[in-house]
Symmetry: D2
Subunit: 448 residues, 4 copies
């Protein structure tokens, strides 16, 4: 009588490679077979790997970050059949809890090397760096970023239902056009890629099709959500997800102990493996009834609250660090806002890389402020003062504390390439790298 | 003994044109004379006009919005001398209160005609529209947007210290380069403009110089803040402003009873005239000590709070309404996010223009969510459910209510141009208009 | 068109005694004539005197507190006729705003002399003391309690509708029985008292009746609310008041800029004169429909918020300061809780009287914690750390600051009777004094 | 490298009686041996039984509540030695997390029979009743109280350090005097009681001494805290506990998934077994440095927040339900406040017992409002509207829903004794019963 232990419908193993686990997959495609079945109205637990599938270690070197193989990421748990769900329905996903595994009470935040993934500030901070975070209940701390402790706003970075064939075709066309038109020296989107595609329990012929057509897990997309990295989609939140295929084929992964708005360093949340507890309900015909083109959600009631007056807010505008005026570019403005915060925190002894890591994962508020006064978009970034164990309020000259160092890749120290560093051989995992010409330029710049 | 009435250092008149009042000005320039003097540590009251200087009436037509003269706006109060302030200091501005005038308990929100100012969504909503808001204490309501009531997050849209000659030169060079390089069919920035320049109490020669060189009040700029339109820079906030000239030459204006993140309809806050109460303190050498390149602020403790779980959040991505994929463009993503919200609220009976107006001025939360997963930037918009007097939560089919209408310009009804409308003669005030070719295209589109 | 200035339906004068102003009264009685009429649905402004009717000055002596005439207090504004209100209806009172008068930006908090009014801790702190508070917008500070600044949680101490004859008779019977049975050396309730009864605009015969029968304004009572001193019945709150007589006869007064839970020093809020803006709506038959025996209310959304983790909480139990165990007595427990807080703050240099005053008026949270574990009731008191401009968190030995002094009555210094003090002649105003035998004992104690 | 699994220093078994587990005890005494040792600075996990030690089942009868043996409760985990702690130090206990056991995701709330324990409202509600709560992550629901769901404000009901011999003697003297002087028909305190005393790992002679002298776990006491039942002493809170004996001898138990202020039904929280994660730090000489006579605490940042305007507040005064006026009695006032809330919620279809149970365990805010206006103390109770899945706001006539029923003891239905019920034989466990004369009177009343 009464509730007994909550059923776990998705399990992961740490004893064999993610690519060999049939309840995982790393592409979005309607043909990946169901990993398990969940009743309409049921609450279940789903285990998830960290987003790199275990490529990162609890140690003091960022070489694993530098070398991460970006074709071997985002092994999502699922897809799950939700009984009764049909195209046109909404799947109401209520996140009852997210927890790390009891025997793995730690996570990591990384800055990717500009030559392998990069990040929002890679023009300024091109080296790989890392911070390990220890979890004790609701709180986390890092030996790599001292004098900081905060409660996790814990959430999944990725969740969504599988696309239909039509939706998938739209994605591939849309992003393909962007790639075709690209004139930047950057890779601008990830087309389907058979290498290291993991298609779950698919038989060979389906597997081949999925590998060839399946959408990559980077980025999020409007039709289903997916890789949204929304920090307050946390404990207690209700998400309304459009259903595109019979049974919904819901998948989830990329758990974050905490994240700041923007997740700016790309591997920027506190990435972790763990367990998510979800209640599922099917809302028949919900897409039309609610008029939804993209998911909506209602946050939960338990996010850490600091009080409005316990934030320092930084302002940034669409004038870049070279003094160039951009026209109404919120992306430029938000980058400037993060730089203003880095400059401010420097004076307490933190290195730029430590702050870059911290802004990626701490619960900072990134707001669009004004976007109508040409040519300057203005954004703001709210930094909670209470995550520091010393006073960071703006009251005159600061005293520098001993802040140690975050982890760096070999050949780099405090963000500077050391003697010999430029010659070290990098064997990146591949995936979302720069075009080779860019890599060469960067190499020149870094070693120059 | 004890505090007596707080001194009012800046007064405005409603009996004569703003351009004739010597304590006002509408350019940023180091040579505009002081309007009054304030002691270091003093708390004073400063009266302010609304940002149009009184061009808008409390009525049910948006013709005044359509015809607003954009060269006659932003008559700021000041500049004030803060005793002892020197370049390199910070001016700590604590906003003790902002109030409308007792005998003018109302404000307005406008959508500008695409041919005269436009706004964030003017491609979709090109007509002028308006909502009048009545103030009763902390709350506002509008006969043009029924079933909504909320507490004001009241704040100044513009505050800052005058630029030095060097800073001013930087602005004019920087924005001039943008204008010179412009290939869009839009005006991308406002160069200095002698027409209708109001230079305060300046004598003729100085007035001429200021009119010729003075920076426009649109946009905000990193070196001093200015026109930032930051919604939570409200009652109780402390702003740290860099000082560039002796005496600081602080100015303030463009009071808002409330505003949403982005102020998307351009005239998007609840614009009002009123009184701001400020305490001023000089922090010697603060710019260097705090390492500031742009203002920072700490919000006040009294902003309206709804509880995290009382928001509906919408998600938007950098795929535009034509299905085109953009590369990591937060501006595009935020526009999509606002459209998702408009689509959602339609089903309760509101017109798109009503919602556009509402999202501009209600305390919505616009967040940068994910900006590292190529090619999709993701933003979120949190809409507080408790500003409505009916239930807007996502629970199936909605019942349409009688929502009346917002005010439109002549010849437009519910956002559609009516018979004859396309032939009506528009005599816009000028200023930030579109290039003529664009206007022609728009005319074609509207009348087509 | 649109809202014009809000109508003021009750005005007060500072040029003549409260007792001569016909729109005021200081008794609850159904026969006091209407002072003015308000429409159902209307929003109006009502001016109010401070609760002492102007007996207290903005100065540095507490002699006026010591000598306050307690028969001349609580001159309420009203009673107002609300059109259409009938017995059995509810009056929905929405508090749109409360503001001090612009030319009187100050208030006061008093500790009453134990011989004239006393307070919650008068056994320990028998002398009269006072703090004057200066208002600057939302904030207040006091020269008598340095290093403290906070935003007001501004509210009326008293509001309610007139009792019917039956309700009034119940009150007089009920409190009369308490007085008749009293064996304490304290005055336990205030019976009707013709002396200094102010019956508004009543003609002589009615005035006499009212003076003879009218209920005193101390205390609050379940049937109508009245003098409740509820700190979060502030800006934006909706109160549902039972209507007992035709027209409701609503009255309001005793405005507080801020108050702590308990208002412990009796004159414990920051008492002020000012203006309250209220919207009135009649809910027909609401008493029965909602099943109300006492008022209910929904707080407003703008109360100052500090964040849960920005409070220090103190615990108190029903063991008194003499070590005596009481049985489940929440009153004893709350007194102990306040004493724990006083002891804690002493170490920063504040005197006990300063803290007593501060706890009375600052937004402290007084909670019932456990009331079922015999014999100890447990209460908690949350003190917001952010009202201090220095760090009061529990981190080892504190540094004492120069805290000056609050105001005391003549002959008392820092809460101790000085030489000559015991002989000073006190001529109290009368009213809620101790029984004479108690006064004698206190005199002995104080001078002994 | 890095944190591995957190050490569990206290384990409980569900396979043998609590009284046989040496790491538990149910008396406060300095001589109970250490159960384990914890380092200064260490974070550990401690398992705890529910407060009845497993006497209550997950079923639909309240007979187990009626028959609970009150001498077999509060088997606390500990006492633990904190290395380095000495009398005069403070023990800083930071609650990193509290969780139910994964395989026991449920808890219970009980109303005790007036003849066996009773509760705050037992004069009105004398029968035993029960609600079972299911836990799904942060949320709980009950089949016995439908249409309610809320996030737990999870916390330990009891934690503290052992008393010294002197402190223990004070307790026994103080409470003994109360018992000796008692003239009520109630048991007013629990003296030491050898029957069913569990003295942990104590050898026979010590066990006998502890059983004879040891303080009972009901109530909380000022010198060490103990059984405080403070609802917001939850995740993330820091408690400062006075140390009275070498090694501190810290104990903890009585975990609550949630509780309302007052825990009014006595077994009123959502009682559960589970695991608490705590970090311990010793603050040398802290008692004197901080001037503490009782514990203080700083709440954590993650308590569920609803927004100030999402509560309905009820008011209660010290006039009891018989119309009798009490003098400044907060206990009477708070009882009335809870009754007002019960009356209000009735109209939605809930039974009084269901509401009584709900107010005991949901996160209601119980505030002291005014305690200085003789003779009426006033308290308020804030009920969060968002824990209901329908609208409980005060808007006219309510529609009754089918609310089912909570569990009752045999012979009682919906709180009324049924035919035969008065004759049913009750064999209560003993402990905190009424004096026999009271039981007889109650029997008369119930069956009459």
């Amino acid at each position: 009588m009464g509730l007994t232990e909550i059923r776990t419908v998705g399990k992961v193993s740490f004893d064999k490679p993610a690519s060999e686990q049939k309840g995982l997959h790393n592409r979005w495609h309607p043909d990946i077979p169901f990993a398990n079945t969940i009743k309409d109205g049921e609450t279940v637990k789903i285990e998830c790997l960290d987003w790199t599938g275990g490529q990162i270690g609890n140690n003091d070197s960022a070489d694993d970050i530098r070398n991460v193989d970006l074709t071997k990421i985002h092994y999502l748990s699922g897809p799950f059949e939700i009984e009764g769900a049909q195209p046109g329905d909404l799947l109401l996903v209520e996140i009852m809890d997210v927890q790390p595994f009891q025997d793995q009470p730690w996570g990591f935040t990384g800055v990717f090397d500009k030559r392998n993934g990069g990040g929002f500030l890679d023009e300024l901070y091109p080296s790989a760096a890392k911070a390990i975070w220890d979890f004790e209940g609701i709180y986390c701390t890092s030996r790599h970023i001292p004098h900081v402790k905060f409660a996790g706003l814990i959430h999944p970075g990725i969740l969504g239902c599988a696309p239909s064939s039509e939706v998938l075709a739209t994605w591939n066309r849309r992003e393909g056009e962007l790639i075709a038109a690209n004139k930047l020296d950057r890779i601008v989107a990830q087309p389907p890629e058979p290498i290291n595609a993991h298609t779950g329990a698919a038989e060979a012929d389906v597997a081949e099709k999925v590998a060839k057509e399946g959408a990559r897990t980077i980025p999020g997309r409007p039709e289903h959500g997916g890789n949204c990295d929304i920090k307050n989609l946390s404990r207690g939140s209700k998400v309304y997800l459009p259903v595109h295929v019979p049974g919904a084929k819901f998948s989830v992964g990329d758990l974050h102990f905490s994240q700041g708005d923007g997740e700016i360093s790309f591997c920027g949340a506190i990435e972790m493996a763990g367990v998510i507890t979800i209640n599922f309900k099917v809302i028949k015909n919900g897409v039309a009834d609610l008029g939804l083109k993209s998911p909506i959600y209602i946050p939960g009631p338990v996010e850490p609250q600091f009080g409005a007056g316990r934030y320092i807010y930084f302002e940034g505008f669409s004038v870049d660090q070279h003094g160039k005026q951009h026209y109404m570019d919120v992306t430029v403005a938000y980058r400037q806002t993060t730089l203003r915060c880095i400059e401010y925190l420097r004076r307490f002894g933190y290195s730029d890389y430590q702050i870059y890591l911290l802004l990626s994962c701490a619960p900072i508020q990134g707001h669009v402020a004004g976007i109508v006064d040409i040519p300057n978009a203005c954004t703001t970034l709210g930094l909670p003062m209470d995550i520091f164990d010393f006073d960071i309020s703006p009251s005159g000259l600061a005293k520098k504390l001993d802040m140690g160092s975050c982890a760096f890749e070999t050949g780099v120290k405090e963000g500077r390439v050391t003697a010999g560093g430029e010659n070290s051989e990098h064997s990146f995992g591949g995936g979302m790298t720069y075009k080779s010409s860019v890599v060469d330029k960067v190499k020149d710049a870094v070693s120059g």
